[in-house]
């Protein structure tokens, strides 16, 4: 039933076939352009790109995950996900949404891997367990490691969705019993876009895809491999509660008077100052709110090791190597206390051990005084 298309219609052609006018098309391009924050000259570029490109094949794999990334993706409001999967990409494999199951599902994936070798985009949701030869996650009888190797080989680029694929997320928290491993540690020699978050914001996920298909190239990445368009600012620096931080006005406990006034959540553990994400700007679910606006601190879900940098409700993280409870201040205070005790002991001991020396000096001084 599915044959390899000889001519793949472009977005523009598809839109025209659907009865949209050229004017509608240009309007759509301006909206995309505005969304991406482009100057007027960039809109022509968008129009050009959409007239030339056909639907990019995408394979979306699921490993050790909770499907929150897929769920977040379908929450995108611009563009809406129906438009993405019907008009922009050809989502040829995703366990969450695809009609086919079993061998038919696998066949759809293999067909895309063959027909579009070197052209498809591989999206990975979830980490890959590498302990015990990968038996902690098997799909269709194959381990996640084997599936990833096969699918990555012919991919044009890889998008690592969410913290699982970017840093291992919750299953990689200590002691990481299944040795959950992020994608960039397993796949070499392919461009990887990391889109961390638990989950990433839906509009950010859609934005990454829109960027790739609109401009035909990967977005500019930061030093960690995240698109700068969404991860270049700290939540803290874009937070509307930032003035309260600068003023020194903090929520002391949840639901206190200060919480009702919307003061800064820093003291109840907000990790916004160390977290790079678009929450403060793009916000969640079409700009409805974000964790801090709804009264709970950020717990840094888009950062490396965030599960082990807890506890969530303390500003200082637990310190490694001192059991789970000790933070830097506790250790420091104990050290300072011990030092004070040591100093006192030394001072007392000095008066005994060096008594003669001190005594001699005193006499020496008194003798000299007499000579005056």
């Amino acid at each position: 039933m599915i044959s390899k298309p000889t001519h793949r219609p472009t977005y523009y052609e598809e839109l025209r076939q659907k009865g949209y006018s050229r004017r509608d098309f240009m309007k759509f391009c301006s909206m995309i352009g505005a969304y991406l924050g482009l100057e007027a000259s960039g809109i022509a570029q968008v129009a050009n790109a959409l007239q030339k490109t056909s639907r990019v094949p995408v394979i979306w794999l699921h490993f050790q995950e909770c499907t929150c990334c897929s769920e977040s993706f379908i929450r995108s409001s611009h563009p809406i996900v129906a438009d993405i999967i019907l008009d922009k990409i050809s989502l040829d494999y995703t366990e969450t949404l695809m009609a086919a199951s079993g061998h038919q599902a696998e066949a759809a994936m293999h067909k895309t891997m063959q027909d579009f070798n070197g052209e498809y985009i591989l999206c990975v949701e979830g980490s890959v367990p590498t302990a015990e030869d990968g038996v902690y996650c098997c799909i269709g009888g194959k381990s996640a490691m084997q599936i990833l190797d096969e699918a990555a080989a012919g991919a044009k680029a890889i998008i690592a969705w969410g913290s699982c694929a970017c840093n291992g997320c919750v299953q990689a928290a200590k002691p990481n019993p299944t040795r959950a491993t992020p994608i960039h540690k397993l796949v070499k020699g392919k461009p990887i876009i990391k889109v961390p978050g638990c989950p990433p914001i839906g509009e950010v996920m859609a934005g990454v895809i829109v960027h790739v298909i609109t401009f035909g190239r990967l977005p500019e990445l930061d030093r960690v491999g995240r698109p700068k368009a969404f991860y270049s600012k700290r939540v803290h620096d874009t937070c509307y509660r930032r003035p309260f931080y600068d003023a020194g006005l903090f929520v002391e406990t949840f639901d206190d008077e200060n919480a009702q006034k919307g003061y800064c959540l820093y003291k109840v553990g907000c990790k916004g100052p160390m977290t790079y994400n678009a929450c403060g700007v793009t916000k969640w679910n079409n700009g409805t709110s974000y964790p801090i606006q709804s009264g709970h601190g950020c717990f840094g879900c888009s950062e490396e090791n965030f599960w082990d940098n807890g506890p969530i409700y303390r500003q200082m993280a637990n310190f490694p190597g001192f059991g789970i409870e000790a933070d830097a201040d506790k250790i420091g205070m104990v050290a300072a206390g011990a030092t004070a005790v040591g100093i006192a002991a030394h001072a007392i001991a000095t008066n005994f051990r060096k008594a003669k020396l001190i005594d001699d000096l005193i006499h020496e001084g008194k003798d000299a005084e007499k000579e005056l």
């Binding site: 039933m1 219609p9 659907k18 995703t94 366990e95 902690y136 098997c138 989950p199 709804s294 709970h296």
Partner: protein, 572 residues
């Protein structure tokens, strides 16, 4: 002759599940259900701050997001003796109802519908006739001939592009698809509308919890402080937003979801006799109207029905160590007490030991251990959990609201009560409780407003948030009814740290392997005797498995008599 089929992976579920089944005389004679992915969160939780647990376990599932966080907060509050303020209970209830409405609609349209709706057949529909049918079943405004004709054009272009995307390789044209093209087109239209709608209703979570998926919870209440006279808190604007979203959701359920369900069901009434399975049902109950510690106030009553005996509903006690127990005889774990031991979750162990075949493998050895799911039992009985269990228990407990929706639906479809014990019954029950939940959500909203009017603005009980005030050891259990069924978390706290944490989740009840006595759990029992028209395209298996709304990834295998793997389902 018996043969074995393999469908792997089963899609449109959450997680990784594999089912192996033997087929004899066109029917499934034996089925084996296996969870093939494990993350061992219970091990990771040990030694951590109990107040953080909700965030960790929330990540068990992003589809039924919120339910684990809720169960976890309740478990810790139960252990520490925290009673949350009424406003927090109401906000949690509103978020809970939101989750139900979202989850059931997404399940019906995006995870389940393609088992009943033939997308390709919709291309042949007459838009005018489609419009007439749509207007006859509902007053939903998007029903003009032009609307359906535009949609059909879009669909045609999509199919003709040759890139079928998510619709590639479906079992289109399979004889088990019985809907006329016009109803299929309505199904496709509402598939897309529901996809757009679902991103709206979750904004209730965003308002109270800051984001969705995975909104934030808080031990002791909720973090979203009420600030009626402040721009930052929950004020009139935020509350009006919630009310509007709840009203829109109720409209969608009553004008789209339920009419579609009732329009599709008559074509598949034979499924009212297939996929019944265990006939035993359990619900922990949920939606407190007078606090978590007063189960009699729950909107969803708790109870157990054994062997379809709805005249006799038994009570559940999650603290009793002889009631809920987990077994690992057929699961890739080991217990200190040996293979046949059953452990109450407070004494539970999660030591994984994989003994299955080395990947890549063709099939599992189903005569030994074959799953990462443990096998939970209630007083030794296998029970089914989920919407059907809740609706049956509500009905059996004599709750008027349950009786009203059940009886009127049975009358509309002209089927007996017995038809509920089936794949169709399970799918229908999900719709019926959605009607109830949509009403309850607005009730809870009104109660919240009334509370605020009366001057109660407390949202969290923080007195015991400080670990210095905790007992040296404490035990708690937090239960809820997830959209997929009964869910509970058991926690043991020692020296302000988590000593043991065990989750028994709905899909574990339903999808688990056999117990030490060889008795099946719900999936395996429901699949038994399901007719399979074409082993190459076992859509029937998907219908029954999807009717449970699985929350793990799944694969289905079918074998021949010699255990040889014969059927690779071919590419269309």
């Amino acid at each position: 002759m018996a043969e074995r089929i393999v469908v792997d992976p089963v899609t449109r579920i959450e997680g990784h599940l594999r089912i192996e089944a033997e087929i004899k005389d066109g029917k499934i004679s034996e089925a084996y259900s296996s969870g093939t992915m494990v993350r061992l969160l219970e091990e990771i939780l040990k030694g951590r701050d109990p107040r953080d647990a909700w965030a960790f376990v929330g990540r068990v599932c992003g589809v039924c997001t919120t339910v684990h966080s809720l169960a976890s907060c309740r478990a810790v509050e139960d252990a520490l003796g925290i009673v949350i303020p009424p406003n927090a209970e109401l906000v949690r209830n509103i978020m809970y109802c939101t989750q139900y409405m979202h989850d059931h609609v997404v399940h019906f349209y995006h995870l389940h519908a393609l088992d009943w709706v033939d997308v390709v057949s919709a291309l042949k529909a007459d838009p005018k006739k489609t419009s007439e049918i749509a207007q006859s079943i509902s007053n939903w405004p998007k029903s003009s001939p032009g609307y359906f004709s535009d949609l059909q054009k879009r669909l045609t272009t999509f199919v003709e592009s040759g890139q079928l995307g998510i619709f590639a390789n479906g079992y289109w044209g399979h004889p088990a698809y019985k809907l006329p093209p016009e109803v299929n087109l309505i199904g496709v239209a509402h598939y897309l509308e529901a996809l757009e709608w679902q991103k709206e209703i979750v904004k209730v979570h965003t308002i109270f919890g800051g984001k969705n998926p995975h909104p934030n919870y808080l031990v002791g209440g909720m973090a979203c402080a009420i600030g009626l006279d402040d721009v930052s808190g929950i004020n009139a604007e935020r509350l009006a937003y919630v009310e509007q979203l709840l009203k829109n959701a109720k409209d969608f359920i009553n004008q789209v979801y339920i009419p579609d369900l009732l329009a599709v069901a008559p074509y598949y009434l034979d499924w009212g006799a297939i996929g019944g399975g265990l006939g035993s049902y359990m619900s922990y109950g949920d939606l407190p109207t007078n606090g978590y510690n007063d189960p009699s106030s729950f909107k969803f009553p708790s109870g157990v029905i054994l062997n379809k005996d709805i005249a006799n509903v038994q009570d559940v006690d999650l603290r009793n160590d002889t009631e809920v127990q987990e077994f690992i005889k057929r699961s890739w774990y080991e217990y200190d007490g040996g293979e046949d031991a059953g452990l109450h979750p407070w004494a539970g162990e999660s030591r994984v030991k994989y003994t299955g075949p080395k990947p890549p493998y063709e099939h599992l050895n189903v005569n030994e251990k074959y799953s990462y799911l443990k096998t939970p039992r209630w007083k030794g009985n296998a029970v089914e959990v989920g919407p059907l269990a809740r609706v049956l228990i509500g009905y059996a407990r004599g709750r008027e609201d349950f009786k009203a929706v059940v009886d009127s639906t049975l009358a509309k479809l002209n089927v007996p009560v017995g038809a509920l014990f089936s794949t169709l019954g399970r799918t229908a029950a999900r719709g019926l409780e959605s009607i109830l939940v949509a009403d309850w959500a607005l009730e809870f909203y009104d109660s919240l407003i009334l509370n605020l009017k009366n001057g109660d603005t407390r949202m969290a009980e923080m007195e015991k948030f400080n670990p210095a005030k905790w007992e040296k050891t404490a035990k708690g259990v937090g239960h809820t009814e997830a959209p997929r069924g009964a869910l509970a978390h058991w926690i043991v706290i020692e020296d302000t740290k988590i000593k043991n944490y065990q989750l028994v989740v709905p899909t574990t009840w339903n999808a688990s392997p056999r117990d030490p006595n060889g008795n099946m759990s719900a999936y395996e029992a429901a699949l038994k005797d399901t007719p399979i028209a074409d082993p190459e395209q076992p859509v029937e298996i998907l219908r029954t498995v999807h009717s449970f709304d699985p929350c793990l990834a799944c694969a289905v295998h079918v074998y021949d008599e010699d255990g040889k793997h014969v059927s690779r389902v071919k590419v269309l």
